[in-house]
Symmetry: C2
Subunit: 331 residues, 2 copies
């Protein structure tokens, strides 16, 4: 399936949306720290400022977008509940946001999702509805639950309020470090990069904005090259937060307006970043969450040498065995 | 060798010493964050405040004591250089402190010390002198270098300025959370616990002060029971920061004056704390560094149930393979 990008004059998210999101998230989302390391600077040949969303609630930036989307709903609509289909960080983000706002959340997850993720989602008070991922369509199930109950589906990335929420991470980064030369962020469905681009292009127009996706998944690069959303085959990758086969339509429009380019990163380079973050900065970041740093560390962004670079670390929810494997590769 | 504890009326370190150390360290040591987690609180059945010295310079609280000891030296004495014998965090702490104060540091390390540790110590600008740990005595070598050069030996724990420096971590913790019911800290040679005890007993006299050492190493417990320093056999343990066969004479005197008790912790319980810190708080802490938390988490401190407990996380310098093994034990 391909869908053409919106050709409308007005972009799906503007800076006012981001500021409104920041207002809703104040005192609710963590204002995550910006970490620095002289070892990291030397390894990257740049001045690196790490916006640490692995320390965000639910362990990922996803909480920002989910909470903003729920908070932006009309209270009467919101009171009928929300629905999400995800086995990842978005599920937990919607579950926690719903609990904080006192509404019911239904999360549609595959029957064979990791029990620890199901338990975590239930732990946030959500109802988990399972489906067979080989015979059933999670979108259809989610939509039918939503229709039945009058509940609202909260999509993971292709939604203006979700994008505006994700943008607040970069907004905080620029509040703390206004004079960045560049900002780089991981790209999966594109919500984080799209939001980041809106915030950075307004607050620091001169900054270079770069997205990073798995080398073998060209969803963002192909979409930018063709000017339309493209569904791509996704090879095996440890960058499991970026396995989405397409980016969102709204996200593409914002990439086209604001993003300088998207680069690919090899799994091994993202894992090297995971290792360096663990051994030197004592921080646990998931492979996808470290993918933008991995590209910089591997020398894949030579135009940023010597620059002041903001890097989004997007999440820290890594399976212990995956982190262990990354660490053992270092010895 | 046994040495009797100082029976002098005046204790080796008092609160004035701690305040002087805090003055010397201001703007030099990191003011490390105090981390919280509702998951951790639930698991410990207490309100837990984690003073995060794994995020200190050189990755451990040791920087505080080393820098304070060097800064307290008469400038003329200091200019003749310093010597330390250590293959661990103290070596790097002395090396960095010396570099910051512009003096020469000689670190005596075993020939077969991990190359990564030697490189790190040299990276801080120190001269590394190696010895054969099977045939030579590091103390004799260190002392002869010091005598030759007029340099000063900086001991790792049994020294008033080292103890006063380590005390500043607990001082900062109490600045941020004044109303703690208890403070618990790991014990190796005893510098951290002794300093912690001075700071806590002055600032929060009612607080319970507990030390935690490896279950199989009774150096602190036996010394307290007998009223004198005892040299003990140290079994194999992953708590490598606490393998010292004895505590210091000054440290014992301060334990006797201020510490309520010392408890043992099993390796497995410390590793469970390492895992929980990695998976939930996204923090990399070394097994010794997490040993006090491990005792609390394992239910070994039942009198602290429901209490507001400050816990010293003392360091984060764990070999990647050790962290990997701890993580794999969780699956």
């Amino acid at each position: 399936m391909t869908t053409s990008a919106t050709g409308a004059d007005r972009l799906p998210v503007d800076f006012d949306d981001v500021e409104r999101a920041a207002g809703r998230l104040a005192g609710v989302a963590h204002r995550t720290p910006v970490l620095r390391s002289s070892t990291l600077d030397a390894a990257c040949q740049a001045q690196v400022f790490l916006k640490s969303e692995h320390l965000q609630r639910v362990g990922a930036f996803k909480f920002r977008g989910a909470y903003n989307a729920l908070a932006a709903l009309d209270p009467q609509v919101r009171s009928r509940g929300v629905v999400a289909f995800s086995s990842g960080n978005h599920a937990q983000a919607v579950a926690l946001a719903a609990r904080l706002l006192g509404v019911h959340a239904t999360i549609v997850m595959p029957l064979d999702a990791p029990p620890v993720k199901m338990a975590a989602t239930r732990g946030y008070g959500a109802e988990v509805v399972t489906y067979d991922r080989y015979t059933e369509d999670r979108r259809a199930i989610g939509q039918s639950i939503a229709d039945e109950r009058g509940a609202t589906v909260i999509p993971p990335y292709d939604h203006p309020d979700v994008i505006a929420g994700q943008a607040t991470a970069a907004l905080e980064l620029l509040d703390e470090v206004p004079d960045l030369d560049a900002v780089i962020a991981p790209v999966g469905g594109g919500g984080l990069l799209a939001g980041t681009a809106v915030a950075v292009r307004t607050r620091r127009p001169s900054a270079t904005i770069v997205g990073v996706e798995p080398a073998g998944r060209r969803a963002a690069r192909d979409a930018l090259a063709r000017g339309e959303v493209v569904q791509v085959a996704v090879p095996r990758t440890l960058l499991d937060g970026q396995q989405t086969p397409e980016i969102g339509t709204r996200n593409l429009a914002l990439f086209q307006a604001h993003v300088d380019r998207v680069e690919g990163v090899e799994d091994a380079d993202a894992l090297a970043a995971v290792r360096l973050l663990a051994t030197r900065l004592k921080q646990v970041v998931e492979p996808s969450g470290a993918s933008a740093l991995g590209a910089l560390l591997a020398g894949g962004l030579p135009d940023l040498r010597g620059a002041r670079v903001g890097v989004l670390l997007s999440g820290g929810n890594v399976a212990p065995a995956v982190l262990a494997a990354a660490l053992n590769a270092a010895d």
